[in-house]
């Protein structure tokens, strides 16, 4: 088990580097630069900018510098460090994970931006996921236990609705009703509990639908399995059978779905952040691509890809606890 975890953790490093390299290549392939605006810049001004940001260097040098920034490299004497780790070794000063400053927002470092805006996305994301998990598990379980009942059809139809209405439609509809007609909740911006209600519901809708369906399917499968039959045959009361044995196996699909879903939720979902003007990481990420803000895009990609891989690993580990039949060598 331990060696499995260590192996999987180690492989994350080359994978993240590959992801960063590919992303860097894609950014460089895209036309346009971070400094291009509606107005054409005089050549002298453009030359100054290129020099300032090292864009006049050969491409391989720029690539190596980028790679050094995202991992570790020696620090120049007069260089300002903008976050990450610093240490000295064998007479050299090293710095690690310093993505530098954003190009579009030069007042702030990439590390700072991620640290500043992750909490917004995480708050909304986790709240939405908890809500979705709660309602989804309840609905899914009841639906599975009362298969083909009115509740089963009702809740599953409702879940389908969550899956079928894009959230960029759902959000504005909720706003039109609750913020602009009834004036119950603010229509946008982050601040106070009341401002969280609409974004959390909008975000939770899809996840709730998924979880309810996954739970229902998983529970149906488990309830037919041999070990539940055994448990019942042993004479355990129905509550223990369902909660201790049934649920444990039934939520495996939900758990495997939770890994990637949570990673995405932490990064925020662009649509909800856009519709409700929430300063989360997701929107900043999309904007950084449109702004050609290379360090910021790379920083967020590195952060996200590592998150996704770690969450996937956690999911794989949790299988072992949920289902004793699964073993890792």
């Amino acid at each position: 088990m331990l060696s499995f975890i260590i192996r999987r953790l180690l492989i994350i490093i080359p994978m993240a580097l590959l992801v960063i390299t590919l992303t860097w290549g894609l950014i460089r392939l895209a036309p346009g630069t971070f400094y291009s605006t509606e107005k054409k810049l005089p050549p002298a001004v453009e030359a100054n900018i290129k020099k300032k940001y090292g864009l006049d260097q050969p491409v391989w040098k720029q690539y190596l510098l980028m790679l050094g920034n995202v991992t570790c490299r020696t620090k120049d004497a007069d260089e300002q460090v903008r976050g990450g780790l610093q240490f000295s070794l064998a007479g050299y000063d090293f710095k690690c994970f310093d993505f530098g400053d954003s190009l579009k927002y030069p007042d702030r470092s990439v590390n700072q931006i991620i640290a500043d805006h992750l909490p917004y996305s995480a708050t909304i994301g986790i709240l939405a996921y908890v809500l979705a998990l709660l309602l989804g598990l309840i609905a899914g379980n009841i639906a599975a236990l009362r298969q083909n009942s009115a509740f089963d059809y009702g809740s599953m139809t409702f879940a389908m609705l969550g899956l079928s209405v894009p959230n960029f439609v759902l959000g504005p509809i909720l706003v039109a009703i609750f913020s602009l007609t009834l004036y119950w909740f603010p229509p946008a911006r982050f601040g106070g509990i009341s401002s969280l209600v609409l974004p959390v519901i909008t975000l939770a809708a899809v996840y709730m639908a998924y979880i309810a369906r996954l739970t229902r399917a998983g529970m149906l499968e488990v309830l037919r399995s041999d070990y539940i039959r055994t448990a019942r045959a042993k004479g355990l009361d129905e509550k223990t059978v369902l909660l201790k044995h049934g649920l444990r196996g039934g939520i495996i699909p939900v758990v495997s779905y939770t890994g990637p879903a949570l990673a995405h939720l932490l990064a925020g979902t662009v649509v909800v952040e856009k519709v409700f003007a929430i300063p989360g990481l997701g929107n900043i990420f999309i904007q950084s691509i449109f702004n050609r803000d290379e360090p910021l895009t790379l920083g967020i990609v590195a952060f996200l890809s590592i998150m996704i891989m770690i969450f996937n690993l956690l999911v794989d580990i949790s299988y072992g606890f949920l289902d004793p039949r699964i073993r890792y060598e």
Binding site: L22, T23, V301, M309
Partner: protein, 391 residues
Amino acid sequence: MANTETVKGTSLWKDAWRRLLKNKLAVFGLVVLILMIIAVTIGPWIIYWLNGFTAESQPSNSDLLKSFPPSLLHPMGTDELGRDLLARVLQGGRISLMVGIISTIVSLIIGVSYGAIAGYLGGRIDNLMMRIVDIIYSIPYILLVVVLLSVFGGQNTKVLVSWLPNILASILLLIVLIPLAVMLFREILNSLGDGYDGFVLFLIKAGYTIAAIAVMVGMIWGIGFLLNAGNVGQYWSKIYSTSVSQGLSQIFLLFFAIGLISWLTMARVVRGQILSLKNQEFVLAARATGVSTLGIIFKHLVPNALGPVIVYATLTIPSVMLSEAFLSFLGLGVQAPYASWGSLAADGVKNIGIFPWQTIFPGVTMALTLFSLNFVGDGLRDALDPQTRKF
């Protein structure tokens, strides 16, 4: 698939079909879908024939250049340029469904072969192949779309069009053929270890393997070359430039971009399925009777994993359509004056407090279709899984 499969599987499929028909929600979904496809296919012609409206025709009278609520002439109202919303919704349906279906086919072809190979071979190769999936999964696909749209949709379109077949071929080569080649190479090594095959037999096998690889590589590149250099290349460009002049060029790139992403999950699903199947008795039996690796994968494993694949495919269509809608929301979707359900809803929702029909009609049409697809997918899953016979 092979003929023998259909003979063997008849009762299974018949059985499944019977069970599907018993599921009323799935039948409802199926009926809605069929009606939707018919409406979307012939609807625009009927509207043109009846009223002379097309999706992009604007009234010449400048007083009519605004959004009118639903009326007899315009059952769904008009948009701000006075265009008939019904015509736009129907035409948008063509694009949305096309995006959904074509991208799903792309994801099926790549995902199934990739997942099956990884799952069957297992071990290091499986590990490597799955890590590749993880890596592609981690690359921001908005960035990918932006790059695709700009590199192919930008100034260099005409030159780069001829590259497209080659790029497609290269990607196929990379993600399908390399694992295939590795697999065949392993087979050679295995036969060497078996001993009793004899050296001559091994030589024949090796020769056959190398030839097979060469033929496959040659075919892929040959197609690319033909499309690129020969008359076919011009023909391709012609198709492409006509589509450009119809304003549909971005759609092709969208198929490509979305297909490129959506096969990842498909590959995972198939791999998981194959992993659980490959140690079952019928595979051992096939191996014992000397069926080749490829034969085992595509004749025995894939057909047995087909149930979840079909189900997953019906669920991929809605998610792909939502991806397209999301790209439209970001302004990277279908090219104006054409629209998709997603772009219509995204445009309409901005005016929801004032012209609600601009959101409601495309939104409801889209939701209804996705609804039906999800029902059909669920129904299929229940029908194809023999254990749920009680349902």
